[in-house]
């Protein structure tokens, strides 16, 4: 697929950092033997992406922003002691964690337990490989980027399981069992939701999806609101964020599979949890929110900056839900995935497939029709959710929200016989 280039591809044009790295890679390719280039290429890409995206956002917007924002939600200040506005707090935390002793339970499985954080870290970094940051800024433009993302994001579940198993702690085992059971359930509606996107944009590559959205000037998130919401719910379940953080439910099973971890081993889990959340947010920004494109605005603003901003706006949703919602029980979560989200995702897929067929065959790929579809789909989303919820017997207004009031003390008052 020919990529539409920016106005200039000079190396000093910071709107696309690829302009800067490509001459460097060319130089490497010309002067160094190809064996070394194979090693150097990923290394440069890794360091660049880490510097541009993972490290700064993780430390300063992930950790600091989350703590600051959740502090404001909880009507407190958040970190404000270390450095100006508490900005150096994440670094102070990291130093503190590194100084702590890394404990291993005597009866645990030390190999598995120590291996788990390492296995947990690797996929979080690998996930960013297929996220396009700009027209040329993509580490690996795999033509099955969507599948790659799904495949790699199924690996941390194993690490969490290993952590829970190796700790030889009952709470940890509970957490491991819960995360394994949940990840299988939530993968299904997630894939079905993303299938609709792949169907409509006619691409399995993330860059292709961004280009489609740029071409037709519409965001998939608005075109398929059901898929967007299902993606958000499923991914928050897989990431263990409230309201679905049952695998490390603090008030029930202490910290789930993290109970026995301490020091930097715990720090890796904590940091990479945010790393996964950021990766999932970047994925959502790419697939549903137009990626680095922004209705022509990306001509003037660096596209990678657009993506980063969108990513963090989406990540804010995670923090917001975490700060406000209680946690569901595991059987309720399972029932929600299988009884509610799966049928709704199937209905969405049917709807989207029909529209795609109509759009290509009957309407000859007219842009205006996309906006019509958008309005139809938003209406349909509300309708489908409402109808299916009613079918499952959910009635929001049937619950009393005020206690009954009686004037006089006495014995048992049957329902409906109170005195106001």
């Amino acid at each position: 697929m020919a990529l539409p280039m920016l106005a200039t591809d000079n190396w000093y044009d910071i709107r696309d950092l690829a302009n800067l790295t490509n001459p460097l890679l060319d130089f490497v390719g010309d002067n160094i033997s190809s064996e070394l280039a194979y090693i150097l290429g990923p290394l440069i890409g890794f360091i660049a992406s880490f510097l541009i995206f993972v490290l700064p956002s993780q430390l300063y917007v992930g950790v600091y922003g989350e703590r600051k924002l959740i502090g404001r939600i909880q009507s407190r200040l958040g970190p404000n002691r270390v450095g100006p506005f508490g900005l150096i707090q994440p670094i102070a935390d990291a130093i503190k964690l590194m100084q702590k002793e890394a404990l291993t339970p005597k009866l645990g499985d030390p190999i598995i337990m120590n291996l788990a954080p390492i296995i947990f870290v690797a996929p979080a970094v690998l996930l960013f490989a297929v996220i396009p940051f700009g027209p040329n800024m993509i580490v690996a433009n795999v033509n099955v980027g969507l599948l790659y993302f799904l495949a790699v994001s199924s690996l941390p579940v194993l690490a969490a399981f290993m952590a829970g198993w190796g700790s030889n702690n009952k709470y940890s085992l509970f957490g491991a069992m819960r995360i394994v059971a949940m990840s299988i359930s939530y993968e299904v509606p997630l894939v079905l939701a993303l299938l609709g996107v792949a169907l409509f944009t006619d691409s399995l590559s993330l860059q292709g999806m961004v280009l489609w959205q740029k071409e037709w000037d519409i965001w998939v998130g608005f075109l398929m609101p059901i898929a967007f919401v299902i993606y958000f719910i499923c991914v928050s379940a897989e990431l263990n964020r409230t309201p679905t953080d049952i695998a490390e439910a603090e008030s029930e099973i202490v910290a789930g599979y993290l109970t026995e971890y301490s020091g930097m081993k715990w720090g890796l889990f904590y940091g990479m949890d945010i790393g996964y959340a950021l990766a999932a947010s970047a994925f959502a920004a790419t697939v549903f929110l137009g990626g680095w494109s922004m209705f022509g605005l990306d001509k003037f603003i660096p596209p990678w900056l657009l993506l980063v901003v969108k990513t963090h706006l989406f990540y804010m949703l995670f923090i917001w839900t975490r700060g406000t919602l209680p946690r569901l029980r595991i059987d309720q979560l399972m029932a929600f995935a299988w009884k509610f989200m799966l049928p709704v995702a199937l209905a969405n897929l049917l709807l989207v497939a029909t529209e795609r067929m109509l759009w290509v065959d009957a309407f000859d790929s007219k842009q205006a029709m996309l906006y019509v579809f958008m309005i139809v789909n938003i209406a349909a989303a509300v309708g489908i959710v409402y109808v299916w919820a009613r079918f499952l017997g959910y009635d929001p207004d049937s619950q009393p929200t005020k206690a009954r009031l009686v004037k006089e003390a006495g014995g048992y008052v049957p329902v409906g016989r109170e005195v106001r």
Partner: protein, 369 residues
């Protein structure tokens, strides 16, 4: 075909150190997968033998002990003990003293229910936000306590025959200002949680207590009222002139955890209502009657109880005409409210057990004394 065998049941220790046991309290739960099939309570980690110690101290010296049983509602504890001794010795309290006692007890109920509601929502998994909001309001109430008696948590404010000091001049305006803002806060909590779908599914039908079960298990307070039994000692046995105030008893529908939560929220509203009336009709006169420091009540016994935030808070005092009580027994509501814990948790999941424990609203200092 042999009998079907499920996965191995194993014992899960919830506590003594656990984020949701609200202190050093332990449930030995036997679980089968996620399902609790047996629950045994282990307590006593905080036992300080207060009942024994009280037998060696004079009646007045015992008031600070009562602060430290239920450390979240020390005013109510002081009140219950003072009422018992007054009943034993036949001492009358002046009107102003009674009104101040009512104001303090109701503020204490508000502060304690703030903690109860916040901790309960924290147990359901609302990560700290409601707790922090509740703390914010509770701090304001504790500021008032500090203004009155110099202490925030262990107030030691009530005395036999009245209260320790008269209210400072700035108290009434400050209290009025606070009472104006509190209903808004309760509305805020309601809008955050009451109609929250996740909160409802987590608490509806969890830990259901029928009225018969609740009565039989000697429960009291919001636990009893959540099951639909209209029983409030402020109404039934109006001590301290509670019959002068106009308020209502909130009761629940089915006796589940959600009902208990609703009852607590509504009780906060009613407390605000009572405080408003008490502030409006605050009588003049002395705040306390003179009582000899070395009080020697006549031989006999008295059982006085107040409606504490957690339920019926009773004090049973036996006198042998000595300077210290012959027997001093506290009827701790959270201890006795635990009687129904096993019935409520067995059959549910571990997550439900935590919610049930949160809805009981235990204070371990009071359980173990």
């Amino acid at each position: 075909m042999t009998d079907t065998i499920k996965s191995e049941p194993f014992v899960l220790n919830i506590g003594p150190q656990h984020p949701s046991t609200h202190g050093v309290f332990r449930i030995k739960a036997t679980v089968d997968g996620e399902k609790v099939i047996d629950a045994e309570m282990v307590m006593g980690y905080l036992h300080r033998s207060m009942e024994k110690l009280a037998e060696e101290r004079t009646y007045v010296q015992n008031i600070p002990f009562t602060d430290r049983t239920d450390y979240l509602s020390s005013m109510s504890n002081n009140l219950g003990y003072c009422l018992a001794v007054e009943k034993l010795a036949g001492i009358d309290v002046p009107d102003r003293g009674n009104a101040i006692r009512v104001i303090m007890a109701e503020f204490q109920r508000l502060a304690s229910h703030c903690m109860a509601v916040g901790a309960f929502t924290n147990d359901t998994g609302a990560w700290q936000t409601p707790v922090m909001w509740c703390f914010r309001e509770r701090e304001k109430i504790l500021d008032l306590f500090e203004m009155t008696c110099g202490a925030r948590l262990t107030c030691n404010y009530m005395r036999i025959g009245g209260v320790a000091f008269d209210l400072p001049a700035s108290f009434v305006p400050a209290a009025r200002k606070l009472v104006q803002t509190l209903p808004g806060f309760i509305d805020e909590m309601e809008s955050l949680l009451v109609a929250n779908e996740i909160f409802i599914v987590r608490t509806r039908g969890v830990g259901v207590l029928t009225p018969e079960m609740a009565t039989n298990a000697s429960l009291s307070g919001p636990m009893l009222r959540g099951s639909g039994i209209a029983w409030d000692l402020r109404k039934a046995d109006s001590y301290c002139g509670y019959d002068k105030y106009d308020f209502e008893i909130p009761i629940g529908y089915r006796g589940d955890s959600y009902d208990r939560f609703l009852v607590r929220l509504e009780e906060m509203r009613q407390s605000v209502k009572i405080i408003k009336q008490a502030l409006d009709g605050l009588p003049g006169g002395p705040h306390s009657t003179q009582v000899p420091l070395a009080l020697r009540p006549p031989k006999g016994e008295a059982y006085a109880r107040v409606e504490g935030p957690r339920g019926e808070l009773g004090y049973y005092v036996v006198s042998d005409e000595g300077p210290s009580p012959h027997r001093f027994h506290i009827r701790p509501p959270s201890f006795i409210n635990l009687s129904a814990l096993k019935e409520m948790t067995v059959g549910g999941s571990v997550a439900d057990a935590i919610v049930v424990l949160g809805s009981i609203d235990i204070v371990v200092g009071e359980i173990d004394r």
